[in-house]
């Protein structure tokens, strides 16, 4: 059943009389026990999706529109005290850089216990026991000893494990992971991804994985959304989208990335650069970089169309591209 139901989410930033949409009409669902990957380059708005779902965009300059329903409760309109109770317990988040997410002058144990006691009325000794258990569950060596350590005494992979332990200790229904392995080395990345997979399998929580790395998405996500300039340009089951991408941006991204299986003479880059927030093009935001673009693409924003099964693509030129392919 659907756990998170996001309908027509918009996040816009206001400066004086000017408005710019960071997220523009995003709709998606996540079921319990599933992993949704949200892929995009820098400036695509992918981190804003994560923060909006977490209810962390309480900023006077930002407006959030649409609905973000967790189990039928709209988080956008929820009073802040009730939202606060859900943050960290029903929905939890881990960030890209575990070094800056941990308090450098507080022991690891104290930090885990603090987040635990903020949500549950339990004794300090029970909290300690739960914290040690959680550290063990995320594969930390010597969990009891780790409780007394400081963040600087841990490696990058260990810090991310601590963040994960803290995030899952209250058994959230949804874990939001924003580039959880980007700052880590390749072999440590593999460990953390395997851990996240195992936690999803064992606890049935849903995982919303934000990343720029198509390889991470291919490994982890059941479904994926490709975000470009704040809009979903393509979405669907991960394997299907990666094997049969239909939107020119997805096609371009996959062609631009070298792969180990084949040796290409030249890569096919996408010309130009992603648009900046205040300079997003009219119509389809990808049209200045798209070789299939026509006048119609500059005029109107293309709506998402079903292309195969549940796969959707927001492009006016799907027919022309199919012919040329």
């Amino acid at each position: 059943m659907t756990l998170l139901d996001v309908k027509d989410m918009t996040v816009s930033v206001h400066a004086g009389a000017r408005t710019a949409p960071i997220i523009d009409g995003l709709t998606f669902q996540i079921k319990a026990g599933q992993c949704l990957g949200i892929v995009g380059e820098s400036g695509s708005g992918k981190s804003s999706v994560a923060l909006a779902v977490m209810g962390l965009l309480n900023n006077d300059a930002l407006r959030i529109g649409g609905t973000i329903e967790l189990d039928g409760t709209d988080l956008v309109t929820l009073p802040s005290a009730q939202l606060r109770a859900r943050q960290g317990s029903d929905i939890a988040m881990i960030f890209q850089d575990p070094a800056s997410s941990l308090n450098p002058v507080q022991r690891i144990g104290a930090q885990i216990i603090e987040s635990l006691r903020a949500h549950r009325r339990i004794s300090r000794s029970d909290a300690t026991r739960l914290a040690v258990e959680a550290l063990g569950r995320v594969g930390m060596p010597d969990p009891a000893g780790m409780m007394r350590r400081y963040a600087h005494q841990l490696s990058g992979g260990q810090r991310q494990r601590v963040m994960i332990a803290m995030a899952v200790i209250l058994k959230p229904r949804l874990l939001v992971a924003d580039e959880p392995t980007t700052a880590l080395d390749l072999t440590i990345q593999a460990q953390i991804l395997a851990l996240l997979k195992q936690l999803v399998r064992d606890t049935g929580m849903a995982l919303m994985l934000i990343t720029h790395d198509l390889g991470v998405v291919a490994e982890m996500a059941d479904d994926l959304i490709v975000l470009y300039a704040g809009r979903a340009v393509e979405a669907g089951p991960t394997a299907q989208v990666l094997d049969h991408p239909r939107h020119p941006y997805t096609i371009g991204l996959l062609a631009a990335h070298p792969v180990l299986e084949t040796r290409q003479d030249r890569l096919t880059p996408i010309p130009g650069t992603p648009p900046r927030l205040w300079h997003r093009p009219m119509g389809c935001a990808f049209h200045p970089r798209c070789k299939w673009a026509q006048d119609a693409c500059r005029a109107g924003v293309p709506a998402a169309q079903l292309v195969r099964g549940t796969q959707t693509a927001a492009c006016l030129r799907l027919d022309a591209m199919q012919v040329s392919a």
């Binding site: 380059e41 820098s42 594969g139 490696s155 990058g156 992979g157 260990q158 080395d185 390749l186 072999t187 440590i188 990345q189 593999a190 460990q191 395997a194 851990l195 195992q198 720029h212 198509l214 390889g215 991470v216 291919a218 490994e219 990666l242 094997d243 371009g252 991204l253 062609a255 631009a256 990335h257 070298p258 792969v259 180990l260 299986e261 040796r263 290409q264 030249r266 890569l267 096919t268 880059p269 996408i270 010309p271 650069t273 992603p274 970089r289």
Partner: protein, 341 residues
């Protein structure tokens, strides 16, 4: 046999460590590079991969003379450069140029692009001052930019454009060797490909040799003829790109390949090798083979004593590849995953 463009023999770089020590004791030594033997031939692209702390960046900087070598020899075109400093180093500096990872930090914010590109020309006095503006324009066009960039400042440009400018600066004096330290890892995927194509063009058109330092296997695989893999300050494997990707000889390389083959991983593909534990600290490099604490082959072979007592040398295998493992060839079999996660 032709003289290699660059040759490193038994090169080591050590730093004084920061671990606690007595007042009158020597500080413990931190070995960033340990006995590196490596050659780069003219026009060759050699990839250098490794995780953070493997020493790959230090190696690039040692070749540039930015960090002093503690032992060992470096030669460029057969001439020793290890202990050449100051003005005597200028000709070598001209022949070897470096492109840094973060193009936001490597360009002077208060200098126009034209000034930035003219600086190497002035330092080396390579062309008459009157010809410099034309040379700057030619350099900009060479890297896919237009001459009107010369009067603007770095802040006006995107990451990809800045990296093009940094590359133009590096090739201003026609170097023989370009050391590129993670030149695309700060860039978006769609822009990465533009820079990788530019580097490939420069190699082809100008006969540049390249030492390409990266943590991204697929990028190195795309660009390089040979790959050297580093782990904790040592080279563990050197092989032609195709051979390394299809049949890694060292168990660490096998684990890296396995971790990198994620995109388009099909159901039924071999289970990835997941290494347990973290990369050990330089202050406590494990005895014997530095990799044995995380090695899946060591576990599979029943923890042979040799691995934790003796340092395996980088030795030549029958097919010409080099690997620093006591069990050459055995890393090639599809490996079982390590259980602990």
């Amino acid at each position: 046999m032709t003289t290699p463009l660059l040759e490193l023999r038994d090169l080591s770089v050590t730093y004084p460590g920061t671990a606690a020590h007595g007042l009158f004791e020597k500080p413990p030594v931190f070995k960033a590079l340990d006995g590196i033997n490596l050659t780069v031939m003219a026009r060759e692209a050699l990839g250098l991969i490794g995780e953070s702390g493997s020493g790959k960046t230090t190696l690039g900087r040692a070749i540039m003379g930015l960090v002093p070598a503690s032992t060992g020899q470096m030669t460029l075109n057969g001439q020793p450069i290890t202990a050449v400093h100051g003005a005597a180093r200028l000709p070598f500096a001209r022949a070897v140029q470096l492109v840094f990872q973060v193009p936001y930090a490597s360009l002077h914010p208060r200098q126009t692009i034209g000034q930035t590109l003219m600086e190497p020309l002035k330092i080396h006095g390579s062309i008459p001052p009157a010809d410099m503006p034309a040379r700057v324009n030619a350099l900009l066009e060479r890297v896919g930019l237009t001459p009107n960039f010369a009067r603007r400042y770095p802040q006006h440009f995107s990451g990809g454009q800045r990296q093009r400018i940094a590359i133009a600066r590096a090739i201003a004096n026609d170097p023989a060797l370009l050391i590129a330290d993670e030149p695309v890892s700060a860039l978006d995927v769609s822009v990465q490909a533009q820079i990788l194509n530019l580097l490939a063009d420069l190699r082809r058109d100008q006969g540049l040799a390249m030492l390409f330092i990266s943590h991204d296997l697929s990028v190195v695989h795309h660009l390089c003829d040979r790959i050297a893999v580093m782990y904790l300050g040592r080279i563990v494997e050197i092989a032609p790109t195709g051979a390394m990707v299809s049949r890694p000889a060292h168990p660490y390389t096998a684990a890296l390949m396995s971790a990198a083959r994620r995109l388009h991983a099909k159901p039924g593909a071999p289970v990835p090798v997941i290494l347990s534990g973290d990369v050990p600290s330089h202050a406590a490099i494990p005895p014997g083979c530095a990799f044995h604490t995380r090695c899946w082959l060591y576990q599979k072979k029943g923890r042979p004593a040799r691995c934790h007592s003796e340092k395996p040398a980088l030795s030549v295998l029958p097919d010409g590849r080099q690997s620093a493992c006591f069990f050459p060839g055995e890393a090639q079999t599809p490996a079982l995953p390590m259980a602990s996660v």
